[in-house]
Each structure stands twice: as structure tokens, then as C-alpha cells.
């Protein structure tokens, strides 16, 4: 216990806790509760049955009513504890219930059927994870196919976007040339138009280029986000020009400067953009929804949302699917986030 405490409180390097450390840790603990609590709720809910999901008020853990086996009945009966009347305290199975009255059976005496009112019974419930929410998914459709499509789109689009955007950002931050401001303004200007609005014109363009119902129809337009250029450009501005000049003195080619100096120095911003790009492509829904209509091309998000009908939504499957789609991207984030820390500060360049 003491070790846990010291682990939680220790600051790196120094032994004693400054008051700012206390404030920081308190803030972080509240943060866990507020930011992570709802996510845990989501994960637990994905193990609930449809009835448990609709229940008022909701409960944290997934519960299900327990059952008892009674001789002479093929299916197990719902189990109750009697809380009032002659049988108080007995565990009984219910055979029928109608309008406030129930017919029950004491398991030790399966032949006698007893009639009680419903308020004399209290259901026996135990924690039960509805894993069938997950197993059903694999039976119902080709999960691996969707997973592969999503992965292919995400990886390809991210690599393409990082390369193309960092090249553009380099040009816009480290070169003086005519038209630079105009290009920058157009990039920023395009940010202002929400994707929802250009969906139809974009769809018409992509269709004309023959990319309808092709994974490339999702990958290539996705690589053209203005956000990435803007983000990287603002970061690269902070890289001192002296480094470039020194490299030019050494007769390094511009491409080498870009590749060997600018990219490593921009690692934190590129890591951020990579995380964002992966997340955008992985979670993208509206755009794949209009470009991909064939099951064999579907991404996980499309499969996930196909549980939504006009009048009914299959929440149990949708939640299980949500958690499954969340896992890979959470893992990727955990892996990439450490590169944010390996920026200029640690490579020593200034």
C-alpha cells in the first residue's frame, strides 16, 4: 500500500512534494473520474442485455435475473425471493405471471403451485456479462473483412496525408515565394466550409473519377484535409531557420533537409497529426456511408451503424461493436502518444 502511495505521489527526480504537485494530482484524479468514467460505463453497458439497458434507473454493473431448475420444467424458471406472507425468505421459481399475480413453485416441492401477488416477490439478480452481444457479432457478419477495410483505409490515408501535408507545410513555413499568402489563405478558407455541406459536390467529383464503391474513394479525399497543413505549418514555423542554413552550408539537398531535419524536429506535431488522422479515418462515417454501398467494402463504422433502423436500434449489438472498434485505436494512441514527448526538447536541436 505504501508503495502504491509513493508511486502515485512521487515526482520524478525530486523527493518532496511541492504544493503544485498536489494540485496537479488532484486535477488528474478528477480528470480520470470525469473523462474516463463515462467510457467505463460504455464498456460495462456493452455487456448488458437489452432489458438491462432500458432499465430506469440505470445500474453500473450488468445484472441479470437468476433462474432455478425445477423438476418437471424443461426451461429454468425465473428466481424470486418471497418477502411477504407464509413463504417469507424462500427462494421460488415463477411459472406464470399476469396482472399483479404470479404462480410460483418452491423447488423442493415441484408439484404444488402457489398463487401470490407480485409485490410479495423480489427478483434475485446476479452480475452477468452478456457476452453473446459480442459472439453474435462474429456470427452475423464478416467482422474480419470490415476490420481489414478499416485498417487499410486508415493506414494508407494516414501515411499519404502525413507525407503530402508535411511537404506542403514545409513549403509554407520555410520558403519565401510569391503566392505563399494566397495558398495559405485558401487552405484556411477551405477549413471554414463544413464537410457536411460539401458532401454532395464531393460525391459527384469522386464518382466521376471512378472511385465510387472503391476504398480509394475514401482514402484519397481524406488525405486532403486543410487542418493538417495548418497544424504542421504553425509548428514548423517555430523551428529556427539557422538549422536549415547550417544544413545548406553543408550542401544538403532541400529534400534531405526536409526529410532529415524538419521531419524529426516536427515529430511531436506529426505524432499529433498521425493520431488525429488515424482517428478521423477510423471513425469516419458520413463520407464512407455515401461512397461505399457494397458489403465487401464496408468499414467497421458502417457495419456498426447498420444496427440503426428507421424505428428501432439494436443497441446491444451497436455497443458491443463500438467497444470492439474502440480497442485498436486506443492501442494505437497509447503507442503514439509517447512520441509527442520526443520533440525538440529531447533531440537537442534548437
Amino acid at each position: 500500500m505504501a508503495r502504491v502511495f509513493s508511486f502515485l505521489t512521487a515526482t520524478r527526480g525530486k523527493g518532496r512534494l511541492h504544493w503544485t504537485d498536489w494540485v496537479s494530482y488532484s486535477y488528474l484524479i478528477i480528470g480520470i473520474f470525469l473523462m474516463f468514467g463515462p467510457v467505463i460505463w460504455l464498456v460495462l453497458s456493452s455487456f448488458k442485455t437489452a432489458n438491462e439497458l432500458d432499465r430506469f434507473p440505470p445500474r453500473f454493473l450488468p445484472y441479470a435475473q437468476e433462474t432455478v431448475e425445477v423438476d418437471g420444467f424443461e426451461d429454468p424458471l425465473l428466481a424470486f425471493t418471497v418477502i411477504d406472507g407464509d413463504l417469507t425468505g424462500e427462494v421460488v421459481g415463477q411459472t406464470r405471471r399476469a396482472a399483479g399475480r404470479a404462480e410460483i413453485i418452491v423447488p423442493s416441492n415441484p408439484d404444488e403451485r402457489i398463487r401470490v401477488t407480485v409485490d410479495q416477490l423480489e427478483p434475485i439478480e446476479g452480475i452477468s456479462f452478456a457476452t453473446e452481444n459480442y459472439t453474435d457479432l462474429f456470427e452475423r457478419f464478416n467482422f474480419l473483412r470490415f476490420f481489414w477495410n478499416s485498417t487499410f483505409i486508415t493506414v494508407t490515408a494516414t501515411l499519404l496525408m502525413l507525407l503530402v501535408n508535411s511537404m506542403a507545410a514545409f513549403a509554407l513555413s520555410k520558403y519565401e515565394f510569391k503566392g505563399r499568402t494566397s495558398v495559405l489563405l485558401i487552405v484556411i478558407g477551405t477549413l471554414m466550409i463544413p464537410q457536411t455541406v460539401v458532401l454532395v459536390p464531393l460525391f459527384l467529383i469522386v464518382t466521376e473519377l471512378g472511385m465510387f464503391n472503391s476504398l480509394w474513394g475514401v482514402i484519397i479525399p481524406g488525405a486532403a484535409t486543410p487542418t493538417g497543413v495548418f497544424l504542421l505549418r504553425q509548428y514548423m514555423i517555430t523551428i529556427p531557420d539557422e538549422i536549415l542554413d547550417a544544413a545548406r552550408m553543408d550542401k544538403a539537398s532541400e529534400w534531405k533537409i526536409f526529410w532529415r531535419i524538419i521531419i524529426p524536429l516536427s515529430a511531436p506535431a506529426i505524432a499529433v497529426l498521425a493520431i488525429l488522422a488515424i482517428m478521423w479515418r477510423w471513425n469516419d462515417f458520413l463520407w464512407p456511408l455515401i461512397v461505399l454501398t457494397r458489403t465487401e467494402n464496408f468499414t467497421l463504422q458502417l457495419a456498426l451503424n447498420s444496427f440503426q433502423g428507421e424505428l428501432q436500434t439494436d443497441w446491444t449489438s451497436l455497443l458491443a461493436m463500438t467497444v470492439l472498434t474502440l480497442l485498436p485505436i486506443a492501442a494505437v494512441f497509447m503507442f503514439l502518444q509517447k512520441y509527442i514527448a520526443t520533440g525538440i526538447a529531447s533531440t537537442g536541436g534548437k
Binding site: F177, I193, V229, Y235, A330
Partner: protein
Amino acid sequence: MLNIISAAMRVIEIPMLALQRRLGINRLAWAFLLPNLILFGLFAFLPVILNVFYAMTGGDNVLLADRPQVGARNFATLLDCQNYLDVNSCREDKFWRAVWNTIWFVILQVGFMVGFALLTAIVLNRDIRARGFFRSVFFFPVLLSPVVVALIWKWILQREGVLNAFLDWTGVGGINWLVDANWAFGWSVFISVWAHMGFYTLILLAGLQAIPRDVYEAAMMDRASAWRTFRRITMPLLAPTMLVVLILALIKGVQTFDEVYAFTGGGPGTATTFIIQYIYEEGFAGAPRLFGLAAAASLLVAGVLVVLTLIQLRLSRNNVDG
């Protein structure tokens, strides 16, 4: 993987070097820009141009060729108000309700979000234990899809949701959050901050990491107070990143849609209907599909955003190489 990439980079170097010899260093910038300009031009800029044409047509046909030209009529419809401060006097009252809601929303949301994102980034930038874990915690909501964000918070806030169950238990008594216009609006701001804060925290964190450590060490030698260090070192050096965050937050704030739409549907009444929801309902979800009106509204919004961004850039020119 890395080997393949670095091999590919060496291959690209050959044509780039040739280009550099022919164009000279400064004109080589266009070679760096070209791939992006092609993608960007086709898939980001051209749709926006088409959007301008849509804004000047009417009817409910999808293809531009089938749509009648109406000139500026869509703009006139949107701007037709007797009194701009009274939404009920406007022909498109829904548009103006959405405009006012969006203005209030952006002020609150951007303020809270950037404030908390900065605070969080500073805390996460300290030498704390389990930094990776805490970073993940704060970033996690960003990974959730808007529908899921809305669903989680609906569970929490509905009439018999978790929060009310808790309030009942403490004796305070529950509130029907989503039926009250002000509460619903407040929660929309909260949820939007909750869902997107991690994104900005991450960008700010990358910016903080970029500040060389020896600058701080020098300040420590001078026995500068923590506040002074923050004011004199952190803030100025963070300014370019802060500018990105502010501009992006403003733009994304105005474009808030998915999670609030899934959360309240814009209600109660029109209390949380924002401008993109208006555009979405007029142009896509509703019937008939008024692409023209939707496109016109989006251009009006974009126009305002451009002006705001230019102001932001101008204001920050002192700090940043614009």
C-alpha cells in the same frame, strides 16, 4: 516498415534534387506544395467552388445541371428580416435562431475548452508519474464517435439517468435536464468540451514540448516565480500553437453538429439548434432537400469565419510570423 519508408525517401530525393537544380531553392517550394495542391484542389477546393454554384440555384434536384438558376434569391431568403434582433420577424426564423444559439455556444465552448485544454496540457507536461496513462485518459473521449458520446451522456442526464439517481440519493433532488432549455444548452457546451478538449490538449502539449528545456532552467537560475515563468516564457513561446488552437477551436465550434444533434436533436424546441444542424436539415435530412439554401447558409457562415480568422491572425501578428 521504417526501412521501406527511408528507402522510398531516398528514391524521391533523386527527382527532387534534379528539380532543385533547375528551379532554385525558393521555387522548389512549389514542388513541395504540388501533391497537396492537386489533392486539395480536387477534393477540398473544387467542392467548395461547386458549393458556390449550388448556392445560386433552387429546386430539389441533386445534379447542378438540373437545377434552375435563382441568382441571389437563397441569400435574400436567409437575410430577410424586419428586425435582426427578433428572430420571429425573420422569414427563415430557424436560421436566425441557429445563428444566435451558435454565437452564444461558441463564446462559451471555446472559452472553457481552450482554458481547460491549456490547464490540462500544463499539468500533463509536468514531471508526473504515469504521464502516458493520464494523457490517454484525457484524450480518450476524442476517440469516441459522436453518436456514442451523445448516447453516454443521455444515459447520464435523462430524467431517470445516473446523475438524477445520484442527486436523489444525496437528497438534492433530480432535475429534468434535457427538457429545460437553459440546462440543455449548458450541457451541450459541457459535452462538446468533454468530447473535444483532448484534441486541443494534445496540440498544446506538443507545443509545450517544443519549448527548449534550458530556457526554463535559465529562468530557474534567475529565481523567477512560476507565474512569471509562465507569463514571460511559456505564453510567448506557445503563441504559434495557441493561435492554431484558437483558430481551429473557433472554426470547429461554429461547425459543432454531430454530438449535439445526436444528444438533443437541437431541442428543446430550437434551444440547441446550431447553424450546421440548420444546414443539414435544410439540405440533407429534411424534405424537400434545399441544397441551394443550405449552400448559401454555409457560405454566409464561411464568410463570417474568414473575417474572424483574419482578425485573429492580424491580432497575433506581433507574436507570430503570419
